[in-house]
Amino acid sequence: MARASSPRRMILTTLAAWGVALLIFFPVLWMILTSFKTEASAVANPPELLSASWTLENYAEVWARSDYPRFFWNSVVISIGSTLLGLAVAIPAAWAMAFVPGKRTKDLLMWMLSTKMMPAVAVMIPIYLLFQRLGLFDTKTGLILALMLMNLPIITWMLYTYFKEIPGEILEAARMDGAGLRSEILYVLTPMALPGIASTLLLNVILAWNEAFWTITLTTTKAAPLSAFIASFSAPQGLFYAKLSAASTMAIAPILILGWFSQKQLVRGLTFGAVK
């Protein structure tokens, strides 16, 4: 039942929502503003806003110093590739866990999640050596595999949660109508869980895009994505905040734009099944 709300309450709620949104977005906004300041303005204390000196020089310098398109393309291939591969593995896995659970399914899910709790640096040397021996070091294929495996528990968990909301009877009816396993997953389950799959895809593209430990550790030149691009803009004399902010803005801009245009889909997917 809808609750009647007074205009005063509406205003307060709106203001609170804007306040929280601004608080969350403020670091990103400050980074974007800093990227247009001179280095001196960027580190001025007290911080400058209206009195700051504005410039586009940081972007020009960052662009001139680095091969941005190469880093960008590597990020696109690695994040989308690892997400698609992850979905291909996780959809059948989540189907099995949601519709034909075994005695140990819950334990298996918990074990999958527990692997995310392990600090990445703990397995750095074995994975580093494995990548070298298998010829996967500094290759996009290697990073796609690494990020897919890293995000697989999250993808599987998310899909499992969405699939659990779909009545098993519908799949049963499809089977009675003669659908095989492949048809059942592809033509019945997938369309019904599309909002959930879409939000899983978007979230994992964002996670893979922002991953900085493995993408920097397992690459040198050929497969290095935008995380390595950012890491190259800190000088031994210290952090040059304006240039670093310009590089960071260039690195997150594509994913920020993607998130902006797909926010409806993301929210719909994330709240899928929240209200019955």
Binding site: V43, N45, S66, Q132, A231, P236
Partner: protein, 436 residues
């Protein structure tokens, strides 16, 4: 022409092309992001003209990330990098581990005897040159000539710490927001501890005695820390415990510091276009206390070859090109003498054109006054002026740096900080097996 003849010619051309491609060696150079390194990347046409069979790929990373990546690679024998950019801290440690290739066999044109003795000494392990210096730096006093003049003072070329205190007192004016002295206070082995370790040398302090016993309970360290805290509390800017290189640079450029003691590389920034006091800056050697050692550090970014590299000949050709005298002349011809990587070769400072560059002589004198093998008054078992070249130092330096930074923030007294540092370093040295 028959089809078969055309096919034969095509195949021959393809073979020739593939043969040329196969002859090309690609080396991967890992480097930090600084002006001199970026400039070198822009001058690669000269290298390719002289070495058409070698291609260079660059990996530019933040200093700590670079250190982590190359350490992982070199320790596992990965061979991903053929040339590493490393500092004077790593060279003695990695050289002793056998992780680096000796550069004793560089061609005669390299002229190893032309390297500045202090820099060469820091990069030599058991008589072998393990890395070739690309640029070297020390630290010195940068001061406001106008404020000194207004105070009726003259800064000596080689001041004492007492001179610094007198000048700081005279230049401090809290009403106009000018503070007498700006020094590093931000915690970190490469931040406040680089400054304080170098400063402590001039007070006769040392990190360890010859038996690796920590020395923070000795009077020399107390004198160092007391002087530093008094100087900063009385004449330093507010919030100095958060100030590192960049923050102090900004303060100085905005005219809020009377003096700043920091890296010689800062000289070009405080006299550059972003500085509001560019034409009012003087330079002097880092201060001393009359004990025969000055409070300046010594650092060189150098190029080295990991033992795991499969392309050591090509890597040596690159290092020879990037760090010999011809390269300095090349930079001078394209970008002017002021942009030549400083602090590595005697011949550069003998050059009349380079002598015209402001602060050139002060940089040379600063570098020459530091000795990484005998950094302080008493003997020490380690190499390094502003660091101790042992693997544990990064952790130790940061721990002690946090303690001293807290003392500067007023959270503990100098005595408490020194006692805490002594305990922390003793525990770590016991755990690492240096002492019982």
């Amino acid at each position: 022409m028959t089809v078969s003849l055309r096919a034969l010619m095509g195949a021959t051309a393809l073979l020739a092309l593939s043969g040329a491609a196969m002859a090309e060696t690609t080396i991967t150079v890992a480097t930090v992001n600084n002006g001199d390194m970026i400039r070198m990347q822009g001058l690669m046409d000269d290298f390719y003209a002289k070495n058409p069979d070698i291609k260079v790929e660059w990996v530019t990373l933040e200093e700590n990330v670079l250190r982590q990546n190359v350490t992982t690679d070199i320790a596992t024998g990965g061979g991903q990098y053929d040339v590493l950019t490393i500092g004077t801290y790593e060279v003695p440690i990695w050289g002793k581990q056998g992780w680096l290739v000796s550069l004793n066999d560089l061609p005669a044109e390299y002229d190893v005897d032309d390297l500045l003795p202090a820099i060469r000494g820091g990069l030599t392990v058991d008589g072998n040159l393990m890395a070739s210096p690309f640029y070297g730096e020390s630290s010195m006093v940068m001061y406001r000539t106008d404020l000194m003049e207004a105070a009726g003072l003259t800064m000596p070329d080689a001041p004492t710490w007492a001179d610094i205190e007198t000048a700081a007192k005279a230049m401090t004016n809290t009403e106009t927001g000018v503070y007498g002295v700006c020094l590093r206070g931000k915690a970190g082995w490469g931040e406040n501890m680089a400054f304080l370790t170098a400063m402590s040398n001039s007070f006769g302090a040392r990190w360890f005695d010859e038996a690796w016993m920590p020395q923070f309970d000795q009077p020399e360290w107390k004198a160092t820390l007391d002087f530093y805290l008094n100087l900063m509390n009385n004449y330093g800017p507010p919030g100095a415990s958060n100030n590192g290189f960049n923050e102090n640079l900004t303060l100085f450029q905005q005219g809020k510091c009377g003096m700043w003691i920091d890296a010689t590389v800062a000289a070009s920034f405080v006299t550059g276009k972003d500085s509001t006091v560019a034409d009012k800056v003087g330079f002097a050697l880092a201060p001393d206390n009359g004990l025969g050692k000055r409070g300046n550090w010594l650092w060189a970014w150098s190029l080295a070859i990991p033992a795991s590299s499969q392309k050591q000949d090509a890597a040596k050709a690159f290092i020879n090109w990037a760090t010999n005298k011809d390269y300095l002349a090349l930079v001078a011809s394209k970008e002017g003498w002021a942009n030549v990587p400083p602090g590595t070769r005697s011949s550069l400072y003998a050059n009349e054109e380079y002598a015209k560059v402001p602060f050139a002589k002060m940089t040379l004198d600063s570098i020459n006054s530091a000795d990484p093998n005998a950094p302080t008054v008493k003997p020490v078992p380690y190499v390094g002026v502003q660091f101790v070249a042992i693997p544990e130092f990064q952790g130790l330096g940061t721990t002690v740096g946090e303690i001293f930074s807290a003392a500067l923030a007023g959270q503990k007294t100098a005595d408490e900080a020194l006692a805490e540092a002594q305990t922390a370093v003793t525990d770590e040295m016991k755990a690492s097996g240096y002492i019982q």
